[in-house]
Each structure stands twice: as C-alpha cells, then as structure tokens.
Symmetry: C2
Subunit: 357 residues, 2 copies
C-alpha cells in the first residue's frame, strides 16, 4: 500500500519516457528537445510516451548539464512597495519577452543577508540584477559569484567591474528645487532618505547645493527619514507643529511625500498654498492622491527593463568588454501639490515673529 502510493506519486523522468517509448534516453532527450536528426516514428512514440506519463522535465538537472538556466536572478532591497513593485514590473516585462524566468530575492537590509542572497544565486541563474543602494562596491563584488554576469542598479557604483544603471539624483534634486523656487517658495526643507543609501545621499547633496545657490540658504532644514510613509507622516506633523516658516518641501521619495501631505492636510495646513510638496520617483499612486503629487519622474519600470537589456548584452557578449554605465535623468511632472495660487490660507508663522508659540 505504502509502495503503491509512492509509485503513484513518483514523478516520471526521462528514463521512464525512454523505457515506455522503447528507445534510449539519448533519443528521448533529442526528441523532447525538438532536435533534428530524429526519425519521425521515434519522435512520435517519445512524445506520446511523455504525454501519457505527464512528463515534466527536471529543469534543475537540465541546467546542470547545459549550464544554462534561462533564469535571471534579481536581488533587491525589498520585493514590495510602490517603487520595487514597479522595478519588478519592468524587469518582468523584459524577461517575459525573452522567455526568461525570474528568481527574486531580497536582502532585508543586512550585509550578511545580501551576501547570502547573492551567493544563493550561483548555479541557478544565468545572470544577476542587483540593486543595492546601501552597500559599497567592495562588499558587492566580494560576494558576487565570479563569472556570473551582473548589472548593478542604483548603487555605489564601481565603474569598471560591472555594468550599471542609475538615476541622476543630483539633476533631479536641482530640478525639484528650481521648480519650488519658481512657485514662490522661500524656505524649502528636505525630507531625506536613510543614511548610507546612495540615492538618498545624492538627493540630499543636490538639494543642499541647489538651495544654497538659489536661495542663499546654507543651512536648510533637513528631516531625516527612511523612505517610509510613516516617516513622511512624522515629518508632516513636525512641520505643521513647528511654525518654521517652511513653505516648500522636497522629499527624497514619493511615499514619504504622500505621508507628509496627509499629515499636513490633517493638521489644517493647505498643500500647496501653505506648503508646496515635491516628491521623487513618480510611483503610480502619485497621481491618485489629492492633491496630485508633483514629482521627479524616474520611469521606474523602464529602469528595470533597461537593466535587464543591459544584462542580456553582458551575457551575450561574454565578459563585458566595454563596461556600460547608464545614467537616467528624471523629469519634472507638475501636479497640484505644487501649483500655488499665491494665496496662502494661513499666515506664515515667521510673519508673526514668535516662533515656537
């Protein structure tokens, strides 16, 4: 009884197919893979046997012998959320077009886990897409299995070793500040991303440079965040309570910008007339919040798509002869969150001069 169940459940192998079709395993393999040079009658009986046995090839075994998995490994800081979801969409789109599978993994923030995730890809994928804004090139290249083609997205890029693709954060920050100033903002604060994150750091630096140049502000208010909506809410509450005279906010990402707007609105602060808000990324929901969020559009999905294209090129041309390094320039998308009428609904605290009151 036990044995019968076992036999019934056992998945059939190419050996079973060969035996059923009365041919060798080699012939079965050739027929199954549609190779030429197989007698029609042989092919027929093999395919029939396979169908009868409901044969499904063991891809692990196949890739062990072909050294090809038709799978791309993707290692991201997270697998969910507005931003990563869009990245995955782009990668998936490009992978699907080429008949490639995706092996996704995330690094859960720690260096140890990133190393584990990268190493776990060995022998299972043909190439790697890694987004690691938190880790420097050394950690990365030490743990990237040798000989595995890889493309680095948005990281502390070590040009030369791996192809890479990234966002021009500095240009983005500059454009955002320029826009806020053009809208009449006089005191602009920055809602920053996590420390140690390459993108966040570049955006903060770009912001500082821009407000120094355009507003002569060398010590702007910078609120440290972590890219989460909660951080945005906290910042919004802070700004609403503080009466700091801030009339414009440049947030390092959209998710925080949205949290910030929500908190400001709840506190009775009008966006954009009291405080104009600009985000970064243009995640899908940016257009659905009210007011719609002005932001620096990154074309996130396209970024993922381009990264996969780059990887394929790297794989096909062998050991990346000229290492590519693409830089994507974000574009300003103006929506209601920054469209100021020039009529603030509340007087600025600093007009009264008694800050903290």
């Amino acid at each position: 009884m036990r044995e019968r169940i076992y036999l019934a459940m056992r998945t059939s192998t190419i050996r079973d197919v060969a035996r059923t079709a009365s041919v060798s395993v080699a012939s079965a393999s050739r027929a199954l893979n549609g190779h030429s040079g197989v007698a029609p009658s042989t092919r027929k009986s093999v395919l029939e046997a396979a169908a009868a046995l409901n044969y499904v090839p063991h891809l692990g075994a196949r890739s062990l012998s072909t050294k090809r998995s038709n799978t791309i490994g993707v290692v991201l800081p997270d697998l969910f959320g507005e931003f990563f979801s869009e990245i995955i969409r782009g990668i998936d789109y490009a992978a699907h077009r080429r008949g490639l599978q995706l092996l996704l993994s995330n690094m859960h923030g720690s260096e140890r886990e990133t190393a584990a995730a990268l190493r776990a890809m060995r022998g299972r994928v043909d190439g790697l897409l890694v987004m690691s804004p938190q880790l420097d090139a050394d950690v990365l290249s030490h743990n990237l299995p040798r000989g595995l083609p890889a493309v680095i997205m948005n990281g502390w890029i070590d040009s030369g070793r791996y192809a890479s693709i990234a966002i021009d954060n500095s240009a983005g920050a500059h454009a955002a500040v320029t826009h806020l100033v053009a809208q009449g903002c006089k005191v602009i604060a920055h809602l920053a991303g996590p420390e140690g994150n390459a993108d966040a750091q570049e955006r903060a630096l770009g912001f500082r440079a821009a407000v120094a140049k355009m507003l002569g502000d060398r010590d702007p208010l910078i609120i440290r965040g972590d890219f989460s909506d909660e951080a945005g809410v906290g910042a919004g509450k802070l700004l609403a309570a503080q009466h700091s005279g801030v009339d414009g906010v440049f947030s390092a990402n959209d998710v925080m910008a949205i949290g910030c707007m929500t908190a400001l609105l709840e506190a009775g602060v009008c966006v954009p007339d009291d405080v104009a808000v600009v985000g970064f990324d243009d995640v899908p929901i940016a257009r659905y919040v009210t007011p719609g969020l002005t932001t620096m559009r990154v074309h996130i999905a396209e970024l993922g798509e381009r990264a996969l294209d780059l990887l394929i090129t790297t794989i096909e041309t062998g050991d990346a002869p000229e290492v590519a390094a693409e830089l994507l320039t974000p574009e300003l998308v103006v929506r209601a969150s920054s469209a100021r009428t020039g009529n603030p609904t509340i007087k600025k605290a600093r007009t009264f001069g008694n800050k903290g009151e």
Copy 2:
C-alpha cells in the same frame, strides 16, 4: 591569453576545494556542510581552501542530489501592483523566517503561459503557491507537476486535491452593501472585476444578492471592469455623465474604486455626499487617497503568509492527509469615502426626472 582569462574567471567547484585542501571531495562536502564526524584539522583546511578560492556552492547541483531546493515557487497573475505586491510581501516575510528563497513567476493571463510557468517549477522548488483566479481546477491540476506540494490561493478551488486559502467574497460584498445602505444610499452600483475571475464573480453575486434583499433592487447597475485604475476612471466618468441617480458604488477592488473616485471628483461629483464609494482589499494606498477609501480589508500580506505556512505544513506532513481549505473573512474599514453627512452638494438627477438631459 584566452585560456588564462578562462581560468581566471572559472568558478571553483568543490573538487577544487578538495584538491587545495588535499582531502577527498566527500570530506570537503562534509566539512563545508558542517557535518559532525570530521576531524578539526580537516575541517580547518577545507574551510581555508574554500575561503581562498572564494568558493560558492552550486545550489543547482546540490538540490539535484539532495532533492531539496529550499526554494518555494510562486505563480501569480502578476508580480506587481498594489495587491500582488502585498501578497509577495507576506510570502516573503514567511519565507525569510524559514530561510527559503522565492522563485516568482507570473502567468500573463494566458492558459498556455500558466501551464509553462507551472511546469517550469519542476525540479527547482520544494513546493508551489499558486494564485489563479482565472483558471479552473482541471487546468491547474493537469499542469501542476505531480508530487509537488502546492497550495492554491483565491481560485476556483477543487477541494480535496490541494490545500487552499481564499477570501470570503460573498460575506465581503454583503458587508459592503450593508454599510452603504446604512449610510443612506438608495441606488447602489457595482464596479465589477473581469469575467472569469473567481473573486470578481463571487463579489458580483454577493452584491446582487445583497441589493436584492436590502433595497429590493433586482436589476442593479453593474459596470464591467478589469481591476485596473483605468477601468475605475472610465466608470467614474460614466457615472458622472449619466445622472443615473446612483448614490453609492461598491467596487470589486480598491484600485478601481480609487480611479472611480478620482474621475467623480474631477467631474465635480462629491464623494461621499453625492456618491459614497466602497472598495475591496484595503491596499496600502487606500488610506492615502483623499477622501480615504472605505473598503473591505483583506489583510493581503497575511493571506500570503498563511498560504506559505499552509504549504510548509503540506510539505512536512507529506501528501496532505487532511486537505485544508481556509476561508478569510474581510472586515469593513470605514474611511471618509463613505462617511456621508446627509447633505449632497448636487441634486440627484432623478429628482428632476429628466434623465439623459
């Protein structure tokens, strides 16, 4: 020269480690895997050799011989978007806790692709999580590799063959309509999901039953959608233009509900006072739109988490002795989109009696 590059790039195998450490491959394997019964000196030299060679084990080969991949396959209708992103978050959370990797795949809508995706999992994963609201149990079970443990999420479930977990859509629809009626809505329309989708169908049926019972409406307005924001926008425009007297909308998912609200607001229709809107899912953004979206909370991430737990149980207990079938009941979350003051800003068209004018 060519050869030198090749040698330099070649990834080292356990054989290289063994040779470097002057032990057999068997001993190297045991040392590397931390097995007991290895002389300390042997272990030491093996680990040193591995470090020196920057050895990374070939997981494909390992799982071929151990018949264990420590990877879970996940097949979803899509890998991105608010809903699937949350599902993935839950699955990832549970998988990470157990040290499991995720192999994600989507089915891009077609039956052929679903079959391919399911079969491609053979030999690469220890179990499968499948969400397939579009396909019936036969297609599914025909393509699920025999002997591969699986859990079906939200599908046309064939209780008995596979463990499953699903949402009580009927109860959810009923609760949504009950709420709208309690808010004073008299004419409720349904923004439906795609045909052939199990969840969508159950929600529509539940809606019909509820409005028939509570409002005596046996022929309610049902607008066919496809779960996309565009469909929601289209429905909102339609409702705004139609003067149909509709004062409540129950949408089959949040994303359409949000699109619908956006379109209604743009057309000058007040939500909730002219039209109250209730969604389904409680995706993360539901709380950030303005007005906040009332919805049936599904605890999406938890659904993914529970599904993985179920799968692990199935794998561990062998061939699922008692096939589990869990049903999750969604709960009503009231936000501003349905909090009516009783003061509509515009007169209902049907009050005038000249519909279409």
